[in-house]
Structures are given as C-alpha cells and as structure tokens.
C-alpha cells in the first residue's frame, strides 16, 4: 500500500522516493502548489478508491496529514 502511495507522490511532485516521508510538505517542496495538491489527492482517491471531503483539505500541511486522512477512510498505510 505504502509503495503505491510513494509511487504516486513521486510522480505527481516530481521528487525521488528518498525525499518522501511524513514531513514532506509544500514548504519544503518547490513543485508542490495548490493545483498539485488537487492532482495528488485526485490520484490518491483513484488509487485507493476513497473520496476525501473538502474540509479535510484544510488540515493538510504535509504528507503525514494525507496519510492520516487516508487511514481515516479505511486505507491501511504506513509511512515513515
């Protein structure tokens, strides 16, 4: 599960696997803007067959938050 997550994040943000962890955020990733957040969430929703609510978006500050939201939606996922 985490493997697919990392693969999608890497592709959408254009960063290597080694840079992907719970603290990866728009603040430390120059390619990450609001459109990219949309694409990322859209790709993850497709992959894990879940639908996140708009109110969830406001809590997203880093990848750790996205993992947390996916877990709340029933996706079993771990990320360092």
């Amino acid at each position: 599960m985490a493997k697919n997550f990392v693969k999608i994040v890497s592709k959408v943000l254009g960063i290597p696997y080694s840079r992907i962890n719970c603290t990866t955020s728009p603040a430390n990733t120059s390619s990450w803007n609001s459109i990219v957040t949309l694409i990322l969430i859209s790709e993850l929703e497709k992959q894990f067959k879940v639908q996140l609510d708009i109110k969830d978006y406001s809590v997203i500050e880093n990848l750790g938050d996205i993992v947390g939201l996916l877990r709340q939606s029933g996706v079993k996922i771990d990320l360092e």
Binding site: N33, S34, I35, T37, L38, I54, Y57
Partner: protein, 553 residues
C-alpha cells in the same frame, strides 16, 4: 511523452497564477522571453464576469448587456496586445461555457440579457472579433463541455481549493483538443485516409453476400455505414484524400462503387485504389508511392484487428486506428480525429480531391503513352508564375508548412512571414501554378530568394508540391527565376540543399539544374549557378507564363 503520442515535442511556459494579463502587458515578461509558437489563453468565466455570473439578477438587464460587450473588448485588447508582441505566434483564446443553471429557474428564458443570453452574446461577439484574423483563433470551450457533459466539467472542490473549475480528470482531453492547433502550426497534419471495403465502407462481405445483400442504406444495419461514408465525404470535401486498400475482386468492388444505389462515396472520390489479393502492407506502400505522399501522411481504417496489427508492426508511420466492433460507433472515430485539423482551408484544399482524381486519369494516360517523354508532352503543361499577392499568400505559407519531399531547405513560414517577405526590399517570392489537359493543379511551386549582395541572390526556399513532381517543371521554374534575377543585375544564384528526414529525392537537384557544388557537408550542399554563360536545359513541352513584372529593389 508528447513526441511519442503526437509526433512532436514541446517546451511549455506557464504564466504565474492569475498573472496572464501582467505577462501580456509587460514587454519584459517571461512570456516574451520564452517566445512561443503558440499562446493558449484560457479564460475563466468567473474571473471575467465576477458578480454578473454569481448574482446576475442583482444587476439590471442593461448592465448585463453592457457587460457582455465590455468583457469581449477587454479580451480583445488583451489578445491583440499579445499578438502584436508575438507576430510569429498563433494565439488561441477560449469562449465560455454557457451555464446550465439559472437562479430564476424556468423563467431564465424570460429575462432580457439573462445569464444564459449574456454568455451566448459574449461567445458570439468573441467569434466575430476574431473571425477574419489569421493569427488568433477561438477555441469553442462551450462545445467541448457540451460533448463531455457540462456537469462533468465543473469541479467545485477544485474551485474552492485551488481556484480552478476544471476537473483534473478532463485536462488530458482538453489538452488533446489544443494539440490540433500545435500539429497544424508545425505542419504535421495527415493528408489521406486509406480504407478497407468489407465491413468498413459497407456491412458484410461483398464477394460472399453479393451486391444486393451488403448492408448500406436506410436499414438499422445499413445506416451506420451510410453515415460513416457521409462523414468521410465531409472530410473529402475539406481536402482529405481518400484511397482504398482492400482484399477483394476489383470488378466486384467497382460494381458496388458504381451501381449500389446507397453508396455515398463513388469511384471519383478515391485518389488510389488497391483492390486485389496482395498483402495490405505492400498495397499501402504502393498507395503512398502512387499519391506521392509519405506514409506518415496516412490514416488507415480497417475493421479487421489482424490487418490493423500487421499494419502497425510493418508500417508504424501510418496511423492505424481501431474501428469499434459495433459499426454504430464508426462515425465517432471520424469525429474524434484531430489529425486532419487545419487552421486554414485554402481553395487548393477544397480542390485537392478533384485534382487527385484527375491524377488517376493521368496515370492511366501514362500507362497508355510510354515512353515518359511522350506522356509529358501529351500532358500539355502550362505554368503560370506570379509574385506573392494577398490572394496566394495563405497557400504559399501552407506549402512551406506542408511540403516535405521536394523542399530544398524545409523552412516553415506562417502567413505573416510570407507577407513580410513580399514587402521586403531584399526578397522576391515566385509562386508557380500549373495546369494540363486533365485539369488544374493549382499553386504548386514556390521559390523565395534573398538578395545577399548586389549581384548575388540566395535561394531561401525552393519547393514543389508532390502532385507536381515528375513533370520536370522545376527546370522551367528555376530558369524563369534566373532570367528575372539576371534582369535585375544578378550575376549568380546560390542554392542550398539542407537534408531533412524526407527530402532525399531532391538531394542532387541543383546539380541536375546546372548548379556547381562549392561546399558540401554530410547534411548540407551549397551550390552556385552563374548567370553569365550557364544555362539549364529546358523542357520544351512546358509553356510558361509570367504574370507580373518584379518589384523594384
């Protein structure tokens, strides 16, 4: 990815968020530093109309009517500013999606300048503003959303989060729509559709079912094929060449083409016909050769997956499309084609299919009048050479964009470039039109020369459309140009052959025309023709008419 899917690569510059106006009005902006070939301005209704869209009935009908005009003028000023700063680029501006919701419900149609009317009015005015502009094009985004389903074209979540209304999921399809502009600018349009017959142009197998039993015409089984043929006829009307590649008995096929009452496409619509029992790959190579077009100019349609697979493997340059299993969806394939999209349809385009039909008659004449010299003499060729005018500039530009084989330098020029050459004191443009006893070829040849020194002119562009190749018209053409330049004081003409992936047929042209090679590398040959003494051998069977004297320089 782009190269693989669309046959070209591109670099993209994107204006920073909501700063397209700043980018356009600032001469020092990143946009102008990037100097693109194509500018896509994608405007959003909410940004342009603001409260007029959100709370339309808090405004008066007069205010709404005026807003449509003002918004259009705002866009006009923006786009024309950009166009003037990037004279070589094409610009595409979208119209707006007509809303499918009205705050006043069923009373919407009773509102003067209502929200729907206001946007329809804006779209119509936008089209009118750029109707006759050959640099600026309006992309019909409303039509695009209608096709997909307007509800599917709004993502409110995306709007609230990132100020983008378009769902990410439809972006690839939207991008695909814009690709047709890029292909057209780059001269990558395809030219010809090659068709199978059985279960493609009609339902059933002609050889087995017989003429009376094939499905074609006003029955549930026949309708899809009739409509498909009408779709093909419409493409033919705008200049797409049609040809047949079918395993069938020729006599049976001709009988169907000539005598079936519901046949829409007839013999005269096809520029080449390979109806035999040879393999379709060999047939395809022969069709390309016969029509003098590259395999990469061809789209192949065949219902048989095996034939398609063979074609894809053997000739990947040919675009082999899948036909759906159900013929009811055949027409969708034609409606989704962007390969023939062009930003300009010239008179030559509309006449092209007729010209190819005439060419088929010429081939038949050639077979009955060997040797070649007798054939060429029998054609009674007449060439007319004139300078660039406002009437032929679109065609001259189109020839530079599309001609690949007989093109010595393969320089691509937009209409604006040709217009600039036509008024430049150091350039001359010669445009050659050709006709023979079978019909008119139209404008088929272009030579652009540039004055380098008082007595030396350099051939910048020398091209001949594939339909005029093999008639030795190039000898008469260059001789005419040489004579004119000599009268203007020229002593020598320099010609350069620049190798491309497709212009090998003209590698030795200048030598054949009597030029002397002075420099040669693996990709370029520079030759010179002295106007003091040397003379190229002229074909005596081509009558030349020069229509105008040259501009004084």
């Amino acid at each position: 990815m782009w190269g693989e899917k669309y046959g070209f690569d591109c670099e993209i510059y994107m204006s920073p968020y909501a700063q397209y106006s700043q980018d356009i009005f600032n001469e020092e902006s990143g946009l102008y530093k990037f100097a693109p070939n194509l500018v896509i301005v994608f405007i959003d209704g909410d940004h342009l109309f603001g409260d007029f869209l959100k709370k339309p009935y808090f405004k008066t009908s007069e205010e709404r009517g005026a807003k449509a005009i003002a918004a259009c003028e705002e866009i006009d000023a923006l786009i024309r500013e950009c166009a003037s700063k990037l004279p070589k680029a094409k610009l595409v501006i979208n119209n707006l999606m007509i809303p499918f919701y009205s705050p006043v419900g069923p009373l919407e149609s009773k509102q003067k300048n209502g929200i729907v009317h206001m946007l329809k009015d804006f779209n119509m005015k936008l089209e009118e503003h750029f109707m006759n502009d050959d640099q600026i094009y309006v992309f019909d985004y409303d039509l695009f959303t209608s096709r997909i389903g307007k509800e599917k074209c709004i993502d409110r979540r995306a709007k609230y989060l990132a100020d983008v209304q378009i769902p990410i999921g439809i972006v690839p399809r939207l991008s695909h729509s814009y690709v047709s502009y890029m292909r057209s600018i780059l001269g990558l349009n395809r030219k010809c559709i090659v068709l199978d017959l059985d279960n493609t142009l009609w339902g059933g197998v002609l050889g087995e079912d017989g003429l009376e039993k094939i499905a074609l015409g006003p029955t549930p089984n026949g309708y899809p094929y009739s409509e498909f043929q009408i779709g093909l006829l419409n493409l033919h009307k705008r200049g797409v060449i049609l040809a047949i590649n079918s395993n069938n008995n020729l006599d049976d096929a001709m009988l169907a083409l000539k005598n079936h009452p519901n046949m829409v496409l007839r013999e005269e619509h096809f520029a080449a016909m390979k109806v035999n029992w040879n393999d379709k790959v060999s047939n395809m190579i022969e069709i390309a050769k016969e029509l003098n077009i590259g395999l990469d100019s061809i789209v192949f349609l065949d219902d048989d997956p095996l034939n398609r697979e063979m074609m894809r493997k053997a000739l990947p340059q040919v675009l082999t499309l899948d036909l759906p299993n159900d013929a009811a969806h055949y027409l969708d394939v034609l409606e989704n084609l962007i390969e023939f999209d062009s930003l300009l349809i010239t008179e030559e385009d509309e006449n092209r299919p007729k010209m190819y039909a005439e060419e088929r008659k010429r081939r038949e004449f050639m077979h009955s009048s060997l040797p070649l010299s007798s054939f060429l003499e029998g054609l009674q060729l007449e060439a007319k050479i004139e300078q660039a005018t406002k009437f032929n500039i679109p065609r001259i530009s189109q020839l530079t964009l599309r001609t690949n084989q007989f093109n010595l330098t393969t320089k691509r020029y937009q209409e604006k470039d040709i217009l600039a050459f036509s008024t430049s004191p150091t350039h001359q443009i010669f445009a050659l039109s050709l006709r023979d006893r079978f019909g008119d070829y139209g404008l088929v040849g272009v030579i652009i020369v540039e004055k380098k020194e008082e007595s030396e002119w350099v051939i910048d562009t020398f091209l001949l459309s594939c339909r005029a190749m093999g008639r030795n018209v190039e000898y008469s053409f260059i001789n005419y140009v040489a004579d004119k330049l000599k009268n203007m004081g020229a002593r020598k003409i320099t010609g350069v052959y620049k190798q491309s992936s497709k212009n090998a047929p003209v590698k030795d042209l200048y030598q054949k025309l009597g030029f002397t090679t002075i420099e040669e590398t693996s990709t370029e040959v520079k030759s010179v023709f002295s106007l003091e003494g040397s003379k190229c051998t002229l074909p005596r069977y081509i009558k030349i008419e020069g229509s105008e004297s040259l501009r004084e320089n």
